[in-house]
Symmetry: C2
DNA sequence: CTCGCCTTAAATGTCGACAGAATGGTTTCT
DNA sequence: AGAAACCATTCTGTCGACATTTAAGGCGAG
């Protein structure tokens, strides 16, 4: 089973890939953005939580300037809310916003899938197949966290194959915002198996170079995810992560102390 | 005929609406971002031109910190390129990038048009009709600049009517990047008339609450624009604005001196 | 005359400081 | 007791400064 620490590290890697994709900045601000962003995505920093620059600067042992810029980067990814003259806050999403994001992400993905179908080569399919195997493995172990990260890797490769960097950049930004609720959906009964099935069929659609089929599968998958999230929201009245986050919070404190 | 100064002011307004949309920051950094962004969009600052923070700070009579943050905002809109340890530069686009942007923008617009069709009320249609009248007026006067700004207003209202702020935000960002080449397309023979016709039909599709028709019209319009841009690119070998920018450069100098 | 090195000038990333605004707690008034 | 006003504290936005790095220009070699 994937540990919270592994998941956090994975989140950092993914965020680094998105934020510092253009130029490989090993810069201070990129590092801060990755770490803080990962903690937001992992729920270590709960929605609406204060992210004041003084505290963060202390924590990273820097001045407030790089912290400020890192938070601006995260604001542009939709993870942080910066109101003028107020403290930056971890952003919280209403269900309607999540719904918007899913619909928007769906059309972007659809475009990229169509474009990918035209360019995809057998090696690309092998890469996807390898990731799919790991997804299947995680599914059998019922490891939702591991599955979700493999799923992210699958989508990352898939969208890269489209060659449309503009669309990929926007899609990745939207993906980041939904990482938090993604597991909520996958943790619902049968969702893991269904998702795996969808991805398997998607790969087959690519093998057959069938964009219409790929599009239909993706559309169905997005819709099913959203339905699962809506059900969760209607049932619990919130989209925040449940309290098993506590274990993670301890890890955070351990890190802060070190 | 719309003067360069009017066009510049319009560009500032539009950029302000996009950047400072969330929270109305009357802040220094928003102001700098709007002004600099407008000059980039208007071609006063040519592609690949240096945008060093010292000079900008002098020009706006501030320190480098707000300038830096303004440039980060513009980088996120795709108007500026910031390589670490190098001077920020006005971003230049290859034709392939422009093509990506158009395709991506098309699917986003398509989504919003579909969602708008479901929510649109008669008052919305009246608003669009009023803008369309102004477009017709500009078309008859062959005022490409005025037409293009009215067209932006049309799209702005149209996308707002979708109610999908997430998609709108991304679409607007892409729109910003294409403002520069937009006029290139509209200045081609018959493009103004064709565009007007497309918009007229689009409005009719909304009146009839016909999302399929709206989608088809939009797709055709985007494609035609891209074809016009491609033709221009193939003919001239560049996407930079032609030399009638000189008049604008003078205006810039006048402003800088004042 | 051109190419490449080296020096000089200028710009970047980061810092600590400060005025003014927001936050949170306490006191006062009803 | 509850609400409102007040005050102290904390944080934000902005500034000028400094070390390090990049860009520019001059100088010499080929």
């Amino acid at each position: 089973m994937m540990t919270p620490e592994q998941s956090l590290a994975q989140a950092q890697t993914v965020i680094r890939g998105i934020i510092a994709s253009q130029h490989d900045r090993p810069s201070l601000v990129a590092q801060i953005a990755c770490e803080v962003g990962a903690e937001i995505v992992e729920g270590l920093i709960p929605p609406d939580h204060d992210l004041n620059t003084v505290e963060l600067a202390r924590r990273y042992d820097t001045s407030r300037t790089p912290v400020r810029e890192a938070l601006i980067l995260l604001e542009n990814e939709g993870l942080v809310d910066i109101a003028p003259r107020h403290r930056p806050r971890g952003r919280s999403f209403t269900f309607d916003e999540i719904s918007e994001i899913y619909r928007t992400r769906a059309v972007l993905y659809d475009l990229m899938a169509a474009e990918a179908t035209l360019r995809i080569v057998n090696e690309d399919i092998e890469v996807l197949a390898a990731i799919l195997e790991r997804m299947r493995d995680a599914c059998e172990r019922h490891d939702v966290v591991a599955y979700s990260w493999q799923s992210v890797a699958f989508h990352d490769n898939n969208t890269r194959m489209s060659g449309n960097n503009t669309a990929k950049r926007m899609h990745d930004s939207l993906l980041l915002r939904t990482l938090m609720v993604r597991r909520l959906a996958l943790a619902q009964p049968d969702r893991l198996e269904r998702s795996l099935e969808d991805h398997t069929q998607l790969l087959r659609a690519y093998e057959n170079r069938n964009p219409a089929l790929a599009s239909a599968i993706l559309g169905a998958n997005h819709k099913a995810s959203l339905v699962a999230i809506e059900a969760y929201f209607k049932r619990t009245g919130t989209l925040d992560l449940p309290e098993d986050v506590n274990g993670l919070a301890k890890a955070q404190l351990a890190r802060a102390g070190a």
